[in-house]
C-alpha cells in the first residue's frame, strides 16, 4: 500500500446526483454509520439542469475515502463520485464578519487591515458593518484573529466549494448516462488508467 493511502489528510468528495428528497440523508449516513465526521458539506445545483452537486470534505486515509466513494456511488440516485486531495482542486470558503461601525470609523487601521485581507463591505449601517471575504480556511481564520480585538460581533463561514482542476465538466458524461446502454465511460474506475498497477499486490 502506498504511503498516501495510509496517511490521513483532507479529501474533497464531489458527488453528482439526481435532485431527490432524502438523498442527503442517504449520503450522510454512509459517513455517520462509520463514525466519520463530515468537516464540510455543500450542496447546490450543478452546471446541468436537474443535476445536483455535493461537495463533501472529510479527513481520512485514501483507502477509507475510496471505499466511502464506492458506497456513495452505489446509491441509486447518485450518478458519479470523485475524490481529490486539496492539491487537485481549487477551493474556496466564504466568511461574513459583523463589526461595530463606530469602531471602524474611529480606527482607520481596521479598514486597512480589512483591505489587506481582501475583505469588502457588504452592508454598512449606523450600528454595524458586515464584511465578506473568500479564501482558504487559514485566510478566513486569520481575519477573525485580526478583528477580535476590535469587537467582532458575529462571524459565519460557508461550507467549502471546490472545482476539480482536471475535469471537463459533467455534460458529456450525463448524455452517456442517459443512454440505455451506457458505454464504458460511465463505469470508469480508478483502476482504468492504472492497468499496470492492478496486477501487483
Amino acid at each position: 500500500m502506498s504511503e498516501s493511502s495510509t496517511e490521513r489528510q483532507e479529501y474533497n468528495i464531489t458527488v453528482y446526483t439526481e435532485n431527490q428528497i432524502g438523498l442527503l440523508n442517504r449520503i450522510a449516513i454512509i459517513f455517520t454509520r462509520r463514525k466519520i465526521n463530515i468537516d464540510s458539506l455543500n450542496t447546490s445545483p450543478s452546471e446541468i439542469d436537474s443535476i445536483h452537486r455535493f461537495n463533501i470534505v472529510i479527513t481520512e486515509t485514501e483507502d477509507v475515502v475510496r471505499k466511502l466513494c464506492r458506497q456513495i456511488e452505489k446509491q441509486v440516485e447518485v450518478l458519479k463520485v470523485y475524490y481529490h486531495t486539496n492539491e487537485d482542486v481549487i477551493w474556496q470558503e466564504m466568511a461574513l464578519y459583523k463589526v461595530s461601525t463606530d469602531i471602524i470609523a474611529e480606527k482607520v487601521s481596521v479598514e486597512r487591515l480589512l483591505r489587506e485581507n481582501g475583505a469588502r463591505a457588504v452592508v454598512i449601517r449606523k450600528d454595524y458593518t458586515v464584511f465578506e471575504t473568500t479564501g482558504h480556511r487559514e485566510e478566513t481564520d486569520n481575519l477573525i484573529a485580526i478583528l477580535q480585538p476590535y469587537g467582532l460581533i458575529e462571524f459565519v463561514r460557508s461550507a467549502r466549494v471546490a472545482i476539480i482542476k482536471d475535469s471537463d465538466g459533467f455534460n458529456r458524461k450525463l448524455r452517456e448516462f442517459e443512454r440505455l446502454e451506457p458505454g464504458e465511460d460511465v463505469y470508469e474506475n480508478e483502476y482504468l488508467n492504472k492497468g499496470e498497477k492492478v496486477f501487483t499486490m
Binding site: 446526483t17 439526481e18 428528497i21 432524502g22 440523508n25 442517504r26 449516513i29 454509520r33 475510496r66 471505499k67 464506492r70 458506497q71 456511488e73 452505489k74 441509486v76 440516485e77 447518485v78 450518478l79 450525463l174 448516462f177 442517459e178 440505455l180 451506457p182 458505454g183 464504458e184 460511465v186 463505469y187 474506475n189 483502476y191 492497468g195 492492478v198 496486477f199 501487483t200 499486490m201
Partner: protein
Amino acid sequence: MEVAQQEITTEAEKKETVNVSGSVALLEALIIEGVTTIFGYPGGAIMPIYDALYDYNEKLQHILVRHEQGGIHAGQGYARTSGKVGVVFATSGPGATNLITGLADAQIDSTPLVCITGQVFAHLLGTDAFQETDVINITTPVTKWNYQVTDATEIPEVIAKAFYIAKSGRPGPVLIDITKNAQIQKFDFEGYVKCNHIRSYKPKPVVRHQYIEQAAELINKAKKPFILFGQGVILGSAEQEFKTFIEKSGIPAAWTVLGAGAIPTDHPLNVGMLGMHGNYGPNVLTNECDVLIAIGMRFDDRVTGRLDKYAKQAQVIHLDIDPAEIDKNVKTTVPVWGDCKETLPLLTALVEEKRHTEWLALFNDYTRKEVEAVIHDELNPTEGEMTMGEVIKQLNDLTHGEAIIVTDVGQHQMVACRYAKLNKTRSNVTSGGLGTMGFALPAAIGAKFGAQDRTVVAIIGDGGFQMTLQELGTIMQSGINVKIIILNNRFLGMVRQWQELFNERRYSFVDIQSPNFVTVASAYGIAGKSIDQREDLPGALKEMLDHPASFLLEVMVTKENNVFPMVPQGCSVSEIRLK
C-alpha cells in the same frame, strides 16, 4: 371495476386512459410485474389498498400473516426459493417499523423485495398523527431504495422503478411508502410501462476483458488454486456456468452459508463450507492456496476470521457484480467486475483444462481428519442423548437431498448448513448476514409458496421458534404444508457454547424454558410429535414427511453439545479448532 381492469393492462402506446384510484393502479402494476402472492397485514393507513385488493382476490393471493416481521420474512423465503421479487404489505407506524428487521436481513443478504407501506394523509405528515412514523428515514439504511408517494399519478412509474431496482444488479429490498390520500386519489392511468433504465443507476458493471485475461493467466499458472463461492452464483442464476467453470479448471470449491446448494453437496469438487463453523480443509487451506478465486461472495468476517492473517500468501481474484465489494475487506489482485453469468463463461473459455489431483487430495485428507475428530460421532452416535447432526443425517436419508432446508439462527443452523444434503440450487434458506432469530418459521411459509412442488423443512431451535411462533396461525389459515423440526437443547445453545468456551461457563441467561410445543401446534390444528429416544427418530421423521399437511416434530437433543470445528473470533482461519 371489471372494465377498468381489462383496459389498463393494454399497451402504453395507445394512450387510452382510464380513471382509477392509486390503489387500483398499484395492484395492476403488481400483476404486470408478475406478482401472484403478497404477504401482508392490513391497518388504518393502508385500508384503501386492501379495499381494492378485495376485488383482486383471483389474481393476487394475499397471505394474512400474524405479525409484519413474519410477513417480510415470508417474503424473503418466497424470493429465495422462487427467484422472484417478494412483495409485502404493511400499514403505517408500527406496521412499518415491524418490517425493519426483515429489511435489514434482506439488505445484508441481497434479497429482492418490494414492501408497500401505508402512510398517513400527506397533509398530516410531520404532525405526529396517529400511527405516523418517519418510515423513509427509518428505513434508509436498510433499503436499496425507498420512496414516499404522496400523489397517485406517481404510482405507476415508482412501482416500475421499485421492481427494477429490487431485482437488478445486486438485488435488495425496496420500500414504497404511500400516503392514504394517494391511495384514494383518482387519476387518468395511461397504462403501465416496465422500467429498464434509470440514468443514475448502473446495475451491472461493464465486463473488462483485460481483467478476464489477467485472471485466466493467474489461474493457469496456479499450482494450488482455490474457489470460494457465495450467493452471487445463485442470484445471478449462474449455477450451470459455475459448474462448467470448476469442472474445466478442476479447482476445488468451498461455499459460504448463502452459497450452499449452488452446486450439489456431492459434487467431487465441492470441498465444503467456509467460515467460523465451516469445514476443516477449506479453512486451513485458504492460508495455503496460491490463487484464491472469490465468486459472488463478500468476505464476511465470519468467513475470513482475522483479516491480517487471511490468505496473505495468495493472489486474489474477485468476481462480483457490486464494485463496492472489491477491495472492501480483502485486497484484490485482479478485480473481475460484472455479473458472474457473463464473466464465468468468458473465464471458462480462457482457462486450461486441468486436474489438481494432489491439491484436491489434500482437502480430502483434512476431511478424513474432520470425520474422525468430529463428524463421525456427530452423525452416528450410538449412546447418550440425540445430537443435532444425526437428525440432519437421518433427514438426508429420507429426503435424499431434494428438500428445501430453511434454518433459523444458532447451533442448529450451523449443524444444518454443515450436514444437510442439497441436490438443487435455491434449496437453502437461512438468515446469513444478519443472523435473525425467528427467521425460519415465517421464511419457511414463504419458501413453500415460492416452490409449491417441493418439500420444505424448517429446522429451528427452541429459542428462535419462540420468537415468531405466532406464524403457526398463518400456516393454519393458509393451509400450507410446511415441516417443522425443533431441535430442542433447552438452551440458547450458541451463546451457551461461547460462554462455555470463552466466559468460563458462566451461563448467563441462556437457560430457556419452553412450552409444550406439540400442544401449541395442536392449538393451531397442526399435527406434531415430540421424541427423546434415538430409536424413534427415523420413524418420526418419516411420519412428519409423509403427513399430508404441516407437521411439527420436536427432537430433544443433548443439552451441552458444541459445534465444531470452530474458528474462534479474532483468530486466523488456519487456527481452526476441532475441539
